[in-house]
C-alpha cells in the first residue's frame, strides 16, 4: 500500500447505522446538547412518506422546532436565508437534514447563517472562512448517494445574481449521520441507479486519481465492493432492506473516500454537463466513468486493474491476465450501465444522447458538447486527474460519451 509523501484524512462524523437507526436520533441530539431541531427536507422526500417515518421515530423524545420541506432541486440562497429565519423564529438549536445532495447543502448553508449570524452568506464562501464549530447537524441521506453526509463541502446557487457559491470547511461536516434502510426502501429504480453510480464514481475516482491515501483507498475499496454487490440487487428487489443498507454504507464510504482524496475528469466533465445542460449529476457520472478510466489508463491503469477484484470478484480477477485487467474494469462499468438500463425499464441512460427529461426531451444536444468542453476548462477538479486535458481532449471524450463509443486510446495525449 502506497505511502504518500504527505496526506490528510478526516472523517469525524458519528455514524449510526441500522434498520432502526432513526430511533437513536434523540440520543445523538442529546449528546450534542441539542433539544429543538429544524428538519430540512424537500417535497419529494415528504411525499414518499419519509418525513413521517423520521418524525414517528423521534417525536416522543424530542420537540421538533419546525419542518421545512421546500428545498428545491438545486440549493438556493433565498431558501437558505428564509429557512434560517424560520430556524430563529422557532427557537431551534440544531438541524436535521433529510434528503439528497441539495437538502444536505442547504442544511449546511443554513447552519453557517444561523451560527455566524451571517447577513451575507457570500462572505463565508471558499475555504477557511469558518473558524469555529457550527450548530449541531444530523444528516439523514435518502439516496445512496452523494455522500454529502460525510463531506466538508456545500454548494449554494444564488439564482438572482446567477452565481454558484462553494463552501469548504471541516466545520460543515455533520456531527452525526444516520443510515437507516427505511430511508431508501422506496427509492425509485431510476434514481437508485443514477445515485448508485454517482457513489461508484466517487469511489473509483478517489482510488485512481492523484491525491489517494491509505485511508481513502480503504474506504473506496469497501465502497466499490458494496455497490457492485448490491446495486443491481436493489434495482430488482427494491424492498431488500439489507441491500439498501449496504448501498447506503457504500455511498457513505465513497463520500469519505473522495472527500479526502479529491476526484478527477469524470467529475470535471460531469459538473460541466450539469451546469450547461442541467443533466442529472448521477446520470452524467454513470456515463462518464468508463471514459475517465479509459482516458487515464496509460497513467493509472495499474490502479484501475486492482478494481477488478471488488468489481468482478476473485474468479474474474485471477483468470484475467494482469495487463488486461484495467480494460476488463472498463467493460464491467459499461456492463453495469447496460444492466441498469434494462433494470430501470430503459430510463437509466447508457450514453449522453440517451439522457432525457421527464417529458422525454433530450437534455444534452450534440451541439452543446462544445459548451460543455469550454465549461470543463474552468473546473478545478481537473487538477487531480492523472492526465491533462485541454479543450480538444474534453470534446473528444464528450463526443464518445455522447454516442457511447469507446475511446480510441491511440488518440489520447501522453502528458
Amino acid at each position: 500500500m502506497y505511502v504518500p509523501g504527505y496526506y490528510e484524512f478526516c472523517s469525524r462524523v458519528k455514524m449510526i447505522v441500522g434498520h432502526d437507526a432513526l430511533e437513536r436520533i434523540p440520543g445523538a441530539l442529546s449528546d450534542l446538547h441539542a433539544k429543538k431541531p429544524l428538519i430540512v427536507t424537500d417535497k419529494g422526500v415528504c411525499q414518499a412518506g419519509l418525513i413521517d417515518i423520521v418524525t414517528d421515530a423521534i417525536k416522543n423524545s424530542i420537540t421538533i422546532g419546525a419542518i421545512a420541506d421546500d428545498v428545491p432541486q438545486d440549493s438556493d440562497l433565498q431558501i437558505v436565508n428564509r429557512l434560517a429565519t424560520l430556524y430563529r423564529e422557532n427557537g431551534c438549536d440544531s438541524l436535521i437534514a433529510v434528503g439528497g445532495g441539495s437538502v444536505m447543502d442547504t442544511a449546511k448553508a443554513i447552519n453557517i447563517v444561523v451560527s455566524e449570524n451571517a447577513e451575507d452568506l457570500m462572505k463565508f464562501s471558499g475555504a477557511g472562512a469558518l473558524t469555529k464549530a457550527l450548530k449541531p447537524l444530523v444528516a439523514i441521506p435518502t439516496t445512496s448517494g452523494t455522500g454529502s453526509e460525510v463531506t466538508l463541502v456545500a454548494v449554494v446557487k444564488d439564482h438572482e445574481r446567477e452565481l454558484k457559491m462553494a463552501f469548504v470547511s471541516y466545520f460543515l461536516l455533520p456531527d452525526a449521520a444516520i443510515l437507516d434502510s427505511r430511508m431508501t426502501l422506496t427509492l425509485p429504480p431510476f434514481i437508485t441507479a443514477s445515485t448508485g453510480m454517482d457513489a461508484m464514481s466517487h469511489a473509483v475516482e478517489a482510488y485512481t486519481c492523484l491525491a489517494k491515501n491509505p485511508l481513502s483507498d480503504s474506504c473506496a475499496l469497501a465502497a466499490i465492493n458494496l455497490i457492485s454487490e448490491n446495486l443491481l440487487t436493489v434495482m430488482r428487489n427494491p424492498g431488500d432492506k439489507d441491500g439498501r443498507l449496504a448501498m447506503a454504507t457504500g455511498a457513505t464510504l465513497a463520500g469519505m473516500a473522495f472527500s479526502n482524496s479529491m476526484v478527477g475528469m469524470v467529475h470535471t466533465l460531469g459538473h460541466a454537463a450539469g451546469s450547461v445542460c442541467g443533466a442529472p449529476h448521477g446520470s452524467c457520472m454513470a456515463i462518464l466513468l468508463s471514459f475517465g478510466l479509459e482516458y487515464n489508463m496509460h497513467k493509472n491503469g495499474h490502479l484501475t486493474a486492482e478494481l477488478l477484484l471488488p468489481l468482478g470478484g476473485s474468479q474474474e480477477y485471477i483468470k484475467t491476465p494482469k495487463h488486461l485487467r484495467a480494460e476488463r474494469v472498463v467493460d464491467y462499468v459499461r456492463k453495469m450501465n447496460h444492466d441498469l438500463h434494462d433494470a430501470s425499464g430503459g430510463r437509466h441512460a447508457r450514453f449522453f444522447k440517451e439522457i432525457v427529461d421527464r417529458d422525454g426531451k433530450q437534455m444534452i444536444p450534440r451541439v452543446q458538447l462544445a459548451d460543455i468542453a469550454r465549461a470543463a476548462l474552468s473546473d478545478g477538479s481537473i487538477f487531480y486527474n492523472p492526465e491533462e486535458l485541454d479543450y480538444d481532449d474534453f470534446l473528444m471524450v464528450l463526443e464518445h460519451a455522447w454516442e457511447g463509443i469507446p475511446l480510441d486510446r491511440s488518440r489520447i495525449k501522453k502528458g
Partner: protein, 392 residues
C-alpha cells in the same frame, strides 16, 4: 461482504501524515481556535532533537507555546495536578502530546482536569463519564507507542478513563518524529497495531467503517515491518508503521477488546513483557481460535495480509487458514531477522508453563467474560508450545 445491522462508529481523529507534517501544526491549531498550546513530552524525546523542530515549526506563526518535558517514568495524580496548574496558570488553550505511551495518557488526563477539575478526576474514571468536548488535543507520536495513543482510553495510576472525547482532534505523523527505535520497541508498536486491527477486522462487532481503518493498518504493518527492521533508515516504512498504530487505535476504540488484547495486556501486567510482543506471539493462535468460533469473519483478513493476487487466487475455504499461516511466517521472520530477539512462543518469552493456568484464571476473574476460561487456557497453551490448533 459482511454487513452488520445496528452499530455506531466514530473516529474524530484527523490525520496529517508525511514530510514536514509538523509545519502544518500551527495552522491546524488555529483551526481548532488554539493560540497557546502546552506541549507535554519527556527528556528522551527532547533529547532526540525533535523539540527544536517543533519550536521551529511555530516560529513565524504568532502562536505561543509552553513546554513541559519533565515526565517521570511512572506518572501519578500528583503530576497531573502539577501539570493542570501549569496549564491554568499559563492560560493555555490546547494540549500537544509529543511522544507516546504515558506522555499521551498524562496529556489526556490533564485535559480532563483542565475542563473539569482535579478534585473530581477520579469520579470521571470509567466509561463515558465525560459529558462534553475537552480542549483541543493533538498527538505527535513516535514509533514507541503502546497502541492507545489515538484511542479513547487514558490510564493513570490504577484508573482507566474511556471516552470518545479523549481521542485526539489531530494526529501528526511526521517523518522526523518517527525515528528508529530498538528492535523490540519497533516490533511491539507494530504488533499491537496488527493485533488490534486484526481483532477489529475479524471480531463480532466487525463493520465496514471500522474496517476502513483496520484494513489500512493491517496492510501497512504487513508490508513494512520487516523492511524497517532490516533497514532502519526506511522513512516511508517508519511512517507506515506509525500510521498503522494510529489507525489501529481508531478502529480499536470502536470495538470491545478481543482475546489478543485481553491476554496480551494480562501477560504484560504479570510478566512485564511489552504488550505488543505478547500479542505478536498470540496472534496466529488467537486468529485460529476466532476461525473456529466464527469462521466467516476471518477469510477476508487475508486481503490486507496477502494482497489482491494471492487473495483472489486462494479458494474461499482456504483463505482463513492462509491468513493464519502468514501470521506464523511473520513470527518466524521476526525471529530470524532479529537474531532471535523476538520470541515466537510463550516458552521462548520465558514464561513458565505452570503459569499458563494462572494467567487464564486471573484474566477470567478480572471480569473479561467475553471468552470462557477454557478458551483462554487453550489459546495460551498452544501459544506456549508453539503448536497450531488442529484444522477440523
Amino acid at each position: 461482504m459482511f454487513l452488520p445491522d445496528n452499530y455506531e462508529f466514530l473516529c474524530p481523529v484527523k490525520t496529517n501524515s508525511g514530510n514536514r507534517a509538523l509545519e502544518h501544526l500551527p495552522f491546524e491549531l488555529e483551526a481548532l481556535s488554539a493560540r497557546k498550546p502546552l506541549i507535554v513530552t519527556d527528556k528522551t524525546v527532547t533529547g532526540q532533537g525533535v523539540i527544536r523542530k517543533m519550536i521551529n515549526a511555530f516560529k513565524d506563526s504568532g502562536v505561543t507555546i509552553g513546554i513541559f518535558d519533565s515526565m517521570p517514568d511512572v506518572p501519578d495524580m500528583q503530576l497531573v495536578t502539577e501539570l493542570s496548574n501549569i496549564y491554568r496558570n499559563g492560560e493555555h488553550d490546547a494540549i500537544v502530546a509529543l511522544g507516546c505511551g504515558s506522555i499521551v495518557d498524562v496529556a489526556k488526563v490533564v485535559n480532563i482536569a483542565a475542563s473539569y477539575s482535579v478534585k473530581i478526576l477520579r469520579d470521571l474514571a470509567g466509561d463515558n463519564l465525560i459529558a462534553h468536548p475537552l480542549s483541543p488535543f493533538v498527538v505527535v507520536p513516535t514509533l514507541a507507542g503502546t497502541g492507545y495513543e489515538t484511542s479513547k482510553f487514558a490510564f493513570i495510576e490504577n484508573l482507566t478513563f474511556s471516552s470518545y472525547f479523549l481521542m485526539p482532534d489531530l494526529v501528526v505523523v511526521d517523518a522526523r518524529m518517527v525515528r528508529s527505535e530498538s528492535v523490540e520497541t519497533t516490533v511491539a508498536t507494530a504488533m499491537v497495531a496488527l493485533a488490534h486491527a486484526a481483532e477489529a477486522y475479524t471480531g463480532p462487532a466487525k463493520n465496514p467503517l471500522a474496517d476502513s481503518y483496520a484494513y489500512a493498518a493491517i496492510q501497512y504493518v504487513k508490508d513494512n515491518l520487516m523492511n524497517v527492521l532490516k533497514k532502519p533508515r526506511d522513512t516511508d516504512g517508519r511512517l507506515a508503521l506509525a500510521n498503522a498504530a494510529s489507525m489501529a487505535g481508531c478502529a480499536f476504540s470502536n470495538m470491545q477488546p478481543g482475546l489478543l488484547h485481553i491476554l496480551g495486556e494480562a501477560i504484560n501486567a504479570m510478566f512485564h513483557i511489552a504488550s505488543g510482543i505478547c500479542m505478536g506471539i498470540l496472534l496466529p493462535y488467537g486468529l485460529e481460535y476466532t476461525i473456529q468460533k466464527n469462521g466467516y469473519h476471518t477469510h477476508d483478513v487475508l486481503l490486507p495480509l496477502s494482497g489482491f493476487d494471492e487473495y483472489a487466487g486462494t479458494a474461499d475455504n482456504l483463505k482463513a487458514e492462509k491468513a493464519v499461516n502468514i501470521m506464523y511466517e511473520m513470527q518466524q521472520d521476526l525471529y530470524t531477522v532479529t537474531g532471535g530477539k523476538i520470541p515466537r512462543t510463550l516458552e521462548e518469552a520465558k514464561i513458565p508453563k505452570y503459569m499458563v493456568n494462572d494467567i487464564a484464571e486471573k484474566v477470567f476473574k478480572n471480569g473479561a467474560k467475553e471468552f470462557g476460561i477454557d478458551d483462554y487456557r487453550m489459546v495460551l497453551e498452544h501459544a506456549w508450545e508453539g503448536k497450531p490448533m488442529s484444522w477440523d
